[in-house]
Amino acid sequence: MQLKTQNKIKGPHIVEVLSNIKLSDDTWKLTFQNQEIAENAKPGQFVSILCEDLLLRRPFSVANTINNSFEIIYKVKGKGTKYLSSLRNGESADIIGPMGNGFTIENKNSLLIGCGVGIAPINFLSNILEKSGIKHSFVACSQTFINTGITENQVIITEDGSAGLEGRLDQHLKKIINEVKPEKIYTCGPNPAMAYVSLTAEKYEISVEAALERDFACGTGVCMGCVIQIKDNNKTINKRICKDGPVFRGNEVLWQCPI
């Protein structure tokens, strides 16, 4: 294998903040200017951002690209996301990416399910499918409403009933599947939600692609810190979420979580 020996194609890029806006009480959308990332990023891929005073970069799914800019959606939870929420227009951040493997785009009637900040890559995918003229529906679930811009084919589910259908995904999913009759499902969100989507889809014999997350140390595939167990015939093997994923087939993941 001949390596590319092209320096720094994935960064680190010093990128300018174009905007940083609140989508809900604790969820924000950051827009960065960078042509290389905007041109190369695919739905499901992520960028790793250096956050002030933290040793490790923090990974965020690309939530959209527009011309020479790209967006991320984040929930303020810890030091890293607090730092992100402090960024103002014109300031810069140190970013590497796009990293990992994105979703496989197929010309099939698709159901897209994003839960919480897992809405981010699903939002990007929805825009790409829209541009490609691929029929799809977008289910956005969250505790409280996250306004990413409502489209015609979007179903909103909020636990607090602040918008759309009230309740949790598991109260509505089967009905949605029966209505939409998807040939393929894409999902991103907390593991229990993705596990539920995968197991439900299996009953309907619909293939699922899920974008996973876990704390990363390197985010480049070298440290083996983020491995998950993947079913491989009759055994299980380790795969790195950051490098082999973050997108995996729903039925190959050994979902080790309560649903």
Binding site: L55, L56, D215, M224
Partner: protein
């Protein structure tokens, strides 16, 4: 000294002639191809591979990593492809792309280390780093680096089966660093590398105050730099063989500090995660610094830094 002359930053470690003293530490740089997106990897002095065992290892269960203040605790458990897969799949990539490398090897018994050493010998692997200090596997590794008798037996047995450059990586989790370093030298090591990660634990108390989540593993990152500097300072005067220093190096100044206390070369570890292009940047910075300060060779710079000795 003219600014036009390129300073000589090469350094010899046993029979290994490094083009520069900047290496990347085992477990933080994969098998090099992963960093191809961030630099021309062949610019680095050498990469040290992820620790390789005789058979593939699946490593420890999750959680495997936890960031702490200025540091990282890892409990990977030596997940790796095994020596044969390395030779079949990874070695050709390193050779084809002229990437100088050091193979880090680990075993669960002296016999296993000998077996891997023989495989390295027959495959003309030029340099091996013995991992005697991984804190994350139940048998082997750290146990071999703890007492002098076992360390001597292991190093001398590997030496008998491996003619090329042999580096022994030491742990700082010992009472008398200088004794371990002298023992490794007596056993036939061509160089010492130190330090490996330090045994550590993190506790997250549950919100309801009922119990806690914990992770035990090896601590790395800038918080261990003072420990590493002291360790190298303590062993330097007791051995004649070169030392490859590491532990929390994240900038040019850190690297100079390691040269000052006795390192002949350095390895960049956890900082590769933060700044994936750091090792390449340090090579450029070292060249520029030497030109600005009119140093013709790295040896001259190191001599000045160790003025106190």
């Amino acid at each position: 000294m003219s600014n036009l002359i390129k300073p000589d930053i090469s350094v010899n470690i046993g029979r290994l002639k490094l083009k520069n003293p900047i290496l990347t530490a085992s477990g933080t740089f994969g098998y090099a191809d992963e960093y191809d997106d961030f630099m021309n990897v062949s610019n680095i002095g050498a990469i040290v591979t992820k620790g390789i065992t005789l058979n593939p290892k699946t490593g420890n269960p999750q959680p495997r990593i936890k960031e702490v203040k200025n540091g990282l605790i890892n409990s990977i458990g030596l997940e790796n492809v095994g020596i044969q897969d390395f030779i079949d799949k990874k070695l050709p990539v390193l050779k084809e792309n002229n990437i100088d490398f050091i193979l880090n090897i680990a075993g669960a018994s002296i016999e296993e280390y000998i077996e891997i050493a023989k495989i390295c010998q027959s495959n003309n692997i030029e340099t091996v780093e013995l991992n005697l200090s991984c804190p994350n596997v139940k048998s082997g590794c750290l146990e071999f680096g703890k007492d002098e008798k076992t360390l001597y037996k292991l190093v001398s047995e590997v030496r008998k089966n491996f003619d090329n450059t042999l580096i022994v990586k030491l742990s700082s989790n010992v009472s008398f660093p200088e004794k371990m370093a002298k023992t490794a030298e007596k056993g036939g090591a061509d160089a010492i590398s130190a330090i490996n990660t330090v045994k550590a634990m993190n506790i997250d108390i549950n919100k309801n105050l009922k119990g806690f989540k914990s992770i035990k593993g090896g601590l790395s990152g800038s918080c261990i730099k003072p420990l590493a500097l002291n360790f190298i300072y303590e062993i330097r005067q007791h051995i004649a063989i070169p030392i490859i220093g590491m532990g929390g190096i994240s900038c040019f100044q850190d690297m100079l500090e390691f040269f000052a206390v006795g390192a002949d070369a350095v390895q960049i570890g956890t900082a590769n995660f933060t700044h994936p292009d750091l090792s390449d940047t340090l090579v450029i910075e070292l060249n520029n610094f030497m030109k600005q300060q009119n140093y013709g060779s790295l040896a001259e710079l190191v001599r000045d830094l160790r003025y106190e000795y």
